[in-house]
């Protein structure tokens, strides 16, 4: 059994994919519990879609998606944060406008600049194509994301739970807001090659939502979310190898399967406790 599971990793591209899958799983699922409890799913989706024009211009200028990662994510986070804070149309509407207009702009740029991008790979991920350089970039981003979450954990938690209370306490909530947006954006951009623009949201939200079904408090929910996230991405990668399936959608469906099981477990255990 173990031999069968390890068999794909005799190929270097599968080892690279495995490392990328684990790093993306960790990055997205450590942030997932913050995102779902702050109702930031739509915002995260907008961040992923807003990358398209930056990728289009970057690839046109000769950069790879990995090289564009950090500057693109910082740019997106600051831009989205500023627009949402300063617009008077409401957060959801502002995100919706940016989401759709940036995505549309991305497609127009790809067409006008005649950029050679495989759109299917960009939308649904192509983890098997990651280069050694991509792996280093994703690992570096993962270390940065996890470190920043650990260092600012208590402040971020306070800010996400009670932003007014945190500001009155003297915390720099403006900094915390942008810090969280940048961290989230980095994790999303770094995971684009793994699961793509469309499915990155599933790897951010589903492991965290599944974890929330079976945990009561925040810190354990992060640990369980990471376990679910990494399991989904690694097992999704293996299933895609053995059954010749697209890797991003497979990871996403494994995560959904875990969510369904957690949901049922929650319902059954609650029913049991009421009896």
């Amino acid at each position: 059994m173990i031999e069968i599971i390890l068999e794909p990793f005799k190929y270097e591209f599968m080892v690279r994919s495995l490392i990328t899958a684990i790093a993306s799983g960790i990055m997205l699922s450590i942030l997932g519990p913050f995102a779902i409890n702050r109702n930031m799913g739509f915002m995260a989706d907008a961040m992923a879609h807003a990358t398209l024009p930056i990728i289009a211009v970057g690839v046109f200028l000769g950069f790879s998606i990995s090289e564009l990662g950090v500057p693109a994510s910082i740019l997106i986070a600051i831009f989205l944060g500023y627009i949402i804070k300063n617009s008077n149309v409401g957060e959801d509407t502002a995100i919706g406008i940016i989401f759709s207009s940036f995505f549309a702009l991305g497609f127009i740029l790809i067409s006008v600049l005649n950029v050679t991008i495989n759109l299917e790979d960009l939308l649904f991920g192509q983890i098997l194509a990651v280069s050694r350089f991509d792996v280093f970039i994703v690992i570096a981003m993962c270390i940065a994301v996890v470190s920043l979450v650990i260092i600012f954990f208590k402040q971020l938690l306070f800010y996400c739970f009670d932003p007014v209370g945190a500001e009155v306490k003297g915390l720099n909530t403006n900094f915390l807001n942008y810090l969280f947006l940048v961290i989230l954006s980095v994790a999303i951009v770094a995971s684009l090659q793994t699961v793509g623009i469309i499915l990155v949201l599933s790897m951010l939200l589903i492991p965290a939502a599944a974890s929330k079904q079976i945990t009561d408090t925040f810190v354990p929910s992060i640990y369980v979310s990471i376990i679910f996230g990494v399991f989904s991405s690694v097992s999704g990668l293996l299933l895609s190898y053995f059954f010749n399936l697209p890797s991003g959608p497979t990871m996403s469906l494994v995560a959904t399967g875990i969510f369904v099981l957690s949901f049922l477990f929650n319902k059954i255990s609650k029913k049991g406790s009421l009896a």
Binding site: N37, R38, I151, F152, K154, Q155, L157, F158, C160, F161, D162, P163, V164, G165, A166, E167, V168, K169, G170, L171, N172, K212, T215, D216, T217, F218, S221
Partner: protein
């Protein structure tokens, strides 16, 4: 020139508003508000919806800029006084779906600007327990906040302010969405906290029996209609100034002593 008595009073003033004006967009939310709150007072802030109660709290907490006049907290600009105030905002401003334990919420009162906490774990735990004992919720220390009643949750937020050792406690609509028993519990808690010399401001819609619960009342309707002892300042004219033609509804609910000029 101030008399000696006035100087002593000013020395103990913790919140001094002098012609304070705050604007929300193009609308004046507070207009020329002047009052002085002494250290250790329990103050009820009353007024109609849109009368500026929450705006005043936001101004004291340094969350909105003062466009005219001045507001001093402990002799400081509100922005510089952050950390000396604990704010329990209206319930819809707090994300209660966050799966946090009571302990985690109280611990937030000890979080510093810097990421590394200056307190040791032992000090933190002892401070959390002490604060929860003061609000009578020690047995709920590991409970998820989703499992608490509205009144218990308010007490947890008050415990957070106690852990912070804040000089001023601002409770915005502390009595909304809690039953009468919980209101009494919170009120008795406020009296106990007040014995430690903390200044407590409570925004409330309930103007009944204010004299029994608070030392002073601040009547707001964008401007300061009156400030002082509830039994002295809650006159027919002041209530009419705050609530307009609706003042009649307070006739039957307010003790005669609060409406001495009525009739």
């Amino acid at each position: 020139m101030k008399t000696t008595e006035e100087s002593v009073l000013s020395d103990t003033a913790i919140i001094v508003s002098d012609g304070c004006c705050v604007q929300l967009g193009n609308t004046p939310a507070l207009d020329d508000v002047t009052f002085e709150i002494k250290k250790g007072k329990r103050v009820a802030v009353v007024g109609p919806n849109g009368g500026g109660k929450s705006t005043l709290f936001n101004a004291i907490a340094g969350l909105v800029p003062i466009v005219n006049g001045s507001l001093q907290i402990n002799g400081m600009n509100p922005k510089d006084a952050k950390g000396t105030i604990s704010y329990v905002p209206q319930k819809d401003l707090i994300n209660r779906n966050f799966p946090l334990s009571v302990k985690q919420v109280v611990e937030m009162g000890l979080i510093n600007k810097r990421s590394l906490n200056l307190f040791s774990r032992k000090q933190i735990n002892s401070k959390i327990k002490e604060s929860l004992v003061n609000v009578g919720l020690l047995e709920k220390i590991n409970e998820n906040i989703n499992n608490l009643s509205g009144g218990q949750f308010q007490r947890v937020l008050i415990a957070r302010g106690l852990a912070q050792d804040a000089d001023i406690l601002l409770l915005d609509e502390a009595f909304s969405a809690v039953d009468v028993g919980a209101q009494e519990d919170i009120m008795s808690l406020i009296s106990d906290i007040n014995l430690d010399g903390k200044t407590i401001l409570v925004a409330t819609h309930d103007i009944n029996n204010l004299g029994e619960k608070f030392d002073e009342v601040l009547c707001l309707n964008r401007h300061c209609c009156a400030y002082g002892d509830p039994s002295e300042v809650l006159t027919k004219e002041v209530i009419e100034e705050m609530y307009g033609s609706h003042f009649e509804m307070f006739k039957t609910h307010t003790p005669e002593s609060h409406l001495k000029d009525y009739d």
